[in-house]
């Protein structure tokens, strides 16, 4: 039993990893990590999905089935963290561009 969202998760994570491994542009590496993060978030949300469930807000839906609340809280936290991480990585790329004049990952100065 393979659900469509699991296929999407695998595709997103594979795309993200391959971007991080193959792309020479730093911005594209950051984008790859963002895509991978979306894949993981989709995975977390789909873990808590209940057939026909509604948003887990107790006061509004006392009698209906709700989707699980924990994965939604996790996903929310994870989205916030990935926002901070992406912003930090992009600001490092800006710094690297202003000092090196390039955002090619192969134009690095630290090696060996």
């Amino acid at each position: 039993m393979i659900d469509i969202q699991m296929i999407a998760v695998v595709v997103l994570i594979a795309l993200g990893i391959s971007a991080a491994v193959l792309k020479r542009n730093m911005i594209k590496v950051v984008m790859g990590i963002g895509v991978m993060g979306s894949g993981v978030n989709l995975f977390l949300v789909s873990m808590g999905y209940v057939e026909g469930g509604v948003a887990p807000i107790f006061t509004n839906t006392p009698n209906l089935t709700m989707v699980l609340a924990t994965p939604q809280a996790l996903t929310l936290t994870s989205i916030v963290i990935s926002l901070a991480v992406t912003a930090l990585m992009l600001s490092f790329s800006v710094m690297i561009y202003s000092k090196y004049g390039s955002i090619d990952t192969r134009k690095r100065r630290l090696k060996e």
Binding site: G37, M47, I81, F92
Partner: protein
């Protein structure tokens, strides 16, 4: 009044050790608006308070066994109201408290060192705020009992560390920080993915709760591999060590000393996952072998990469990789024989004791070595070993501290590095003699590369560039002196550390049932 206050601190110690540095961090920019002195006093006081509460926690844990603290419950000990731990639980056993006390002590030392080392540079309010955030992240990572909070604290630690690495705003430091951030965020996403895999099957995120019900399906094994490799990345095991040399090499020297402890928090998480969460897995010995191979590769590749380095901090960074290998080797031998009670009692447990003992020794001598490198950079303004010469003429105290650190890392008696390395050699010898031989060869190569640093930086004629200025300021050599005295003290009395802290930590790591029983 005071008694009631101390009682409150003692009862809520697991929450306070995370809360105090975190609150203090965000108050630091406010205090630095008043004046620099007020800010410095505030940072030191908050770290001292954290130290005091951590010491209380350690004392409680050593006296009464592990401390469990449920966040948001009416009674902190109410972990599983319906037999199901759904709240975030902080769980500190002897191993966690051991790691927490290392983090706080090093934070205090690094903080005092930084006052004069950073001098009048701009943005220091953020520097000290980030230092406190790093402390909070480390303590959170080692005291949490929850896989998701582990991810959160790891990201907190990574983000703060990356910003610290890029402090000098040079191209190289931005590059190092970028690499560090990319690998750690990919590692953290792996951890989150693994947590999701486990949550999807068991509806649990609590480590103790998961360890109680886990059935070792194929998906669980995949989760183990993801967690294992992500934490191996965080502790800098070869071949996932490349970020270490960049990050340690480019960060300000006190930050490098603190990053050593940050990597060890990753090491703690690796041990916690392998021993507690997956300790009952039938094939866990395979992971023990993986840990041993990581350890051997780290030791050898780390030290052979260190010898040709010209940058003093990059050289020391590769040594940090190499020494992490000893810890992985010692604890890995314990994990490889965990299901064989005879071997575990004969040599497995003492190999683990050696590995865990090496953690605290490494924090001390590697911290000292990075601080002496900082002292050299403070006076000469260069990291390049080729441009240094004759520093022993002008910096006698730094020279002595460097010798103490170098002899300790090379594992010479009577310094503390020898005590832990001896335990690793002798117990690993019973497991496989070849591994012990490799460990000894690595020690010799370590000594060789520190002889190179000593010769090129401290010996020889004075060069005009390095002759300026004498010894480093008092607050800098004072904390280096504290570390040097501790190294010699625990070298001559290794039993003090071993009996009081290390053996309880190893027992806690091996006592999987006790960790589970604390929650359910």
């Amino acid at each position: 009044m005071i008694d009631a206050w101390l009682e409150f601190c003692s009862q809520n110690a697991p929450a306070l050790v995370i809360a105090i540095p975190l609150i203090a961090a965000f108050a630091t920019p406010l205090f630095s608006r008043i004046s620099e002195k007020v800010r410095n006093i505030w940072v030191v006081l908050s770290l001292l308070a954290t130290f005091r509460v951590t010491a209380t926690l350690l004392h409680n844990v050593l006296d009464n066994g592990q401390v469990v603290y449920t966040l948001g419950a009416s009674v902190p000990s109410l972990t599983a109201p319906d037999g199901f731990p759904f709240r975030i639980i902080l769980q500190a056993d002897a191993m966690s408290a051991f790691m927490a006390i290392i983090s706080v002590s090093m934070a205090l030392i690094v903080c005092i060192y930084s006052f004069r080392f950073m001098g009048k540079k701009s943005g220091l309010d953020k520097y000290f705020a980030l230092l406190l955030v790093m402390t909070a992240g480390m303590i959170g990572l080692v005291t949490t009992g929850d896989l998701f909070s582990m991810f959160v604290f790891l990201e907190l630690l990574s983000v703060a560390s990356a910003a610290m690495i890029a402090y000098y705003s040079k191209g190289e430091s931005a590059e190092a920080a970028f690499k560090y951030m990319v690998v750690s965020s990919i590692g953290a996403l792996m951890i989150l993915f693994a947590a999701g895999m486990l949550y999807g099957q068991y509806n649990l995120l609590n480590i103790a709760g998961l360890a109680g019900v886990i059935e070792f399906t194929l998906i669980d094994k995949m989760a183990l591999v993801l967690l294992f490799s992500a934490f191996a990345l965080k502790c800098g095991a070869v071949p996932l060590h490349m970020w270490v040399s960049d990050a340690y090499g480019e960060a300000p020297a006190p930050v490098s000393a603190f990053l050593v402890v940050a990597s060890q928090a990753g090491l703690y998480a690796l041990f916690r996952i392998s021993f507690t969460l997956f300790g009952g897995l039938p094939g866990i010995a395979t992971m023990g072998w993986a840990m041993i191979i990581f350890g051997l590769l780290s030791m050898f590749v780390g030290v052979t990469m260190a010898i040709p380095q010209k940058d003093i901090k990059r050289l020391m960074a590769y040594h940090a990789v190499s020494q992490t290998g000893y810890m992985l080797l010692g604890v890995g031998v314990g994990l490889a024989v965990i299901n064989d009670m005879g071997s575990l009692a004969l040599f497995g447990k003492s190999a683990m004791e050696g590995g865990i003992f090496h953690v605290i020794n490494h924090a001390m001598y590697k911290g000292l070595l990075f601080l002496t490198a900082g002292a050299i950079i403070y006076r000469t303004g260069t990291k390049n070993l080729n441009e240094m010469s004759g520093l022993a003429h002008t910096m006698p105290l730094t020279t002595i501290f460097f010798i103490v650190g170098a002899l300790s890392i090379a594992g010479l008696p009577p310094f503390n590095g020898f005590a832990s390395k001896l335990m690793i050699y002798e117990s690993v010898f019973l497991f496989n003699p070849l591994f012990a031989v490799i460990a000894m060869v690595v020690s010799i190569l370590t000594l060789a590369s520190f002889v190179k640093v000593f010769h090129s930086a401290f010996m020889g004629p004075k060069v005009s560039k390095s002759a300026k200025g004498g010894e480093v300021p008092l607050s800098m050599w004072f904390v280096m002196g504290i570390l040097a005295v501790l190294i010699i003290f625990f070298g001559i009395f290794p039993d003090v550390m071993l009996d009081n802290l290390v053996t309880p930590a190893v027992d806690a790591l091996l006592n999987q049932a006790g960790y589970i029983g604390g929650v359910i």
